[in-house]
């Protein structure tokens, strides 16, 4: 049979052929997380656009927002809006600006109840008017998640849902689920679910604020002699 020489490698490059053990590449667009080690393990090399990503931090304050910082910075600098729905605290503008996020593009939505949080999230996703949607739903059922996933589909916004670590045991229609904890002074990312083969080993990211990096042991004498605070030469701020 005449024709082009057959190449097995070329066949495997076809996007519609999926091999167990490899990640799906075709299909959904993504927004890079800008953490190379994480991007390497995420299908499409980034946060999935038009889909739910569940983030389950073990505790508040371990780097759950720092993880999203680079992606949010890139989206906001492209002029896209970032909707923060029912955040637990005030997103602090000076810190977000330092992370490179255009804070003029951040909108916070305060909701009176968990039901309204889901409603607002669904609206934000269905409108397809945001660059990213971040939501902190207090309680969310499987049916709610499915509604949100359907609202997100076909859109351009990655949707990040922050949930409690206990939710890891529940089933969810979100195509990407990530549990966060700390290890060795860094952020340990466990991919609970992704499109493609499951990931057994956690990923360790150096997602620490710059000034804190390398300070794994307490270095400040304050902790033992806090009463003497006034005797130390502080970094003075005069206004």
């Amino acid at each position: 049979m005449a024709g082009k020489p057959f190449s097995f490698a070329a066949l495997l490059e076809r996007p519609d052929i999926w091999r167990g053990g490899s990640l799906s590449r075709a299909g959904t667009p993504t927004v890079p997380s800008e953490f190379p080690r994480l991007d390497a393990e995420l299908p499409g090399s980034g946060w999935p656009a038009g889909a739910l990503t569940e983030i389950l931090p073990a505790h508040e304050g371990i780097g759950e927002l720092r993880l999203l910082g680079p992606a949010l910075a890139a989206l906001s600098n492209r002029g896209l809006w970032l909707a923060w729905i029912a955040p637990p605290h005030l997103p602090y503008a000076p810190a977000l600006a330092v992370a490179g996020i255009d804070i003029g593009k951040i909108v916070i939505v305060r909701t009176p109840s968990a039901k309204e949080t889901l409603w607002a999230t669904e609206q934000a996703l269905a409108s397809n008017a945001c660059g990213a949607v971040l939501a902190w739903p207090k309680s969310v059922k499987y049916a709610d998640l499915r509604r949100l996933q359907i609202a997100a589909e076909g859109g351009r916004a990655p949707a990040f849902l922050f949930r409690s670590p206990e939710a890891a045991g529940e089933s969810s229609p979100a195509p990407l689920r990530i549990a966060l904890s700390t290890a060795a002074g860094g952020l340990e990312v466990r991919v609970l679910k992704r499109r493609g083969a499951p990931l057994a080993r956690p990923i360790l990211l150096p997602a620490m604020p710059p000034a804190v990096r390398g300070k794994n042991h307490h270095v400040d004498r304050y902790s033992t002699a806090a009463t003497a605070a006034r005797d130390f030469p502080p970094r003075l701020v005069h206004a």
């Binding site: 508040e60 371990i62 602090y92 397809n128 002699a225 206004a239």
Partner: protein, 425 residues
């Protein structure tokens, strides 16, 4: 037919007096809405609107799509109508009046189509009509079969001229309708309505009219008012403010639905009035050359308005950084797209607590989920002596036993103590 005779035939008939003023207003409303399809809109009082559509066919993709738009819009506004198309305005008017929804494309087809129409359609004069009937002329075709000079002698030239205009043999100039500079439309409800949500049906009719009116004027609105008229009380006013200009009926409906769903009516509603005063030019939408994949990007402003309509205007805000040393004033909730003033600070957390939370101090060490480990600091902030909101604090980045990072400070005034002020999320 007399009312008594009608009631004898249909005892459950409800009789209402005719309201010519309301009829005129309705006709003007339809004309204002229809002006989006053509600049050539003329009125034939009391019940006909004439549209010169030959110039619009290409834009709307032909006659049938255009008629479909007209039909759907008129239905949405709650009118039952007869659409007729003819090469001359008068012929179209007659066909519509006769209740024949006929679409006649060429002058050649016009004559046979008109021939079947009864004479009372075009002959307004009762005396003439009686005379025509007396000589056995019942249709337009029969009238045209009579010798012209005889008809002119007997019934006057006017009747022939009317006929000639209908057939396109005489010019038939029209004064085009000019839509007013403001929009106001009202619907008197057939029965009093007590549920605000039930009003949406009537309101929707007005919205369709508003949207068409705005399209006709190539304008949009940023603000419009829905007034709910009661019997004894002053009208309930609902003002809808938009983030950006719009004339999208679906969007308006959504906003009003949210507002009406949360409204408790003090008294039943008898009348709904929609009013828009400030029209601002708004150009049309350009369609993309290529078919885009996925969902089309939505309008950001629409989302903000929808959220605000349900959650309140204060629920949707932006954030801003200010040239301030006091942390609670350096980063604040602000208007959307507020001006930003960035200063160079030390390490700042992504979350700031709404109010600093006092921390326990055990053995001179602050505790939060166990003992806190101070990592960075102190950063002393002393500011605000001029406005009675003075702060004097030493800030630290601290680590909890869970390895979370928090931003805490030691109060340097009064009784001192440790406070949690932020979280490095």
């Amino acid at each position: 037919m007399a009312v008594s005779a009608a009631l004898a035939l249909a005892p459950r008939l409800s009789v209402a007096p005719r309201d010519p003023a309301a009829e005129t207003e309705a006709l003007l409303g339809v004309a204002g809405w229809a002006a989006q399809f053509t600049p050539g809109v003329a009125l034939e009082f009391p019940d006909c609107v004439l549209l010169e559509v030959s110039g619009s066919l290409k834009l709307f993709g032909g006659l049938e799509p255009l008629l479909e738009l007209l039909r759907r819009g008129l239905k949405e506004m709650g009118w039952s109508t007869t659409l007729a198309v003819a090469p001359t305005p008068r012929a179209a008017f007659w066909l519509a009046l006769a209740g024949k929804g006929e679409f006649i494309g060429s002058t050649a087809e016009l004559e046979p189509a008109l021939a079947a129409l009864p004479v009372e359609i075009f002959c307004r004069n009762d005396e003439t009509r009686a005379a025509l009937e007396a000589i056995g002329v019942r249709t337009l075709g029969e009238l045209r079969a009579l010798p012209r000079d005889g008809v002119a002698r007997r019934f006057g030239q006017g009747l022939l001229d009317e006929l000639d205009r209908g057939l396109g043999r005489l010019p038939d100039p029209r004064i085009f309708f000019v839509p007013p500079a403001r929009f106001r439309a009202a619907i008197e409800l057939p029965a009093e309505v007590t549920q605000a949500e039930a009003l949406l049906f009537a309101v929707r009719r007005l919205i369709v009219q508003l949207s068409g009116f705005l399209a006709a004027r190539s304008s949009g609105v940023q603000r419009f008012v829905l007034r709910l008229g009661h019997r004894d009380r002053a009208a309930t006013e609902i003002t809808i403010g938009l983030v950006a200009l719009s004339r999208d009926a679906e969007h308006f409906t959504l906003l009003l639905r949210e507002r009406l769903s949360g409204l408790a009516l003090a008294e039943p509603v008898r009348e709904v009035i929609l009013q828009a005063d400030d029209l601002v030019p708004l150009s049309g939408r350009n369609l993309g050359l290529l078919i885009e994949q996925g969902k089309p990007p939505g309008r950001w402003e629409s989302l903000v308005e929808r959220l605000r309509a349900r959650l309140g205007a204060d629920a949707v805000r932006g954030i801003a950084s200010r040239a301030e040393h006091r942390p609670e004033r350096a980063g604040v909730v602000a208007d959307l797209e507020a001006k930003q003033m960035q200063m160079d600070f030390g390490e700042r957390p992504f979350w700031l607590l709404d109010r600093p939370r006092p921390l326990a101090e055990i053995d001179a060490v602050p505790h939060h989920d166990g003992r806190l480990e101070l990592l960075v600091g102190p950063e002393r902030i002393e500011s605000g002596w001029w406005d009675d909101d003075e702060v004097a604090r030493d800030y630290f980045v601290a680590r909890t036993q869970n390895e979370a990072l928090v931003w805490i400070y030691r109060e340097r005034r009064g009784e001192g103590g440790w406070y949690l002020h932020g979280v490095f999320a």
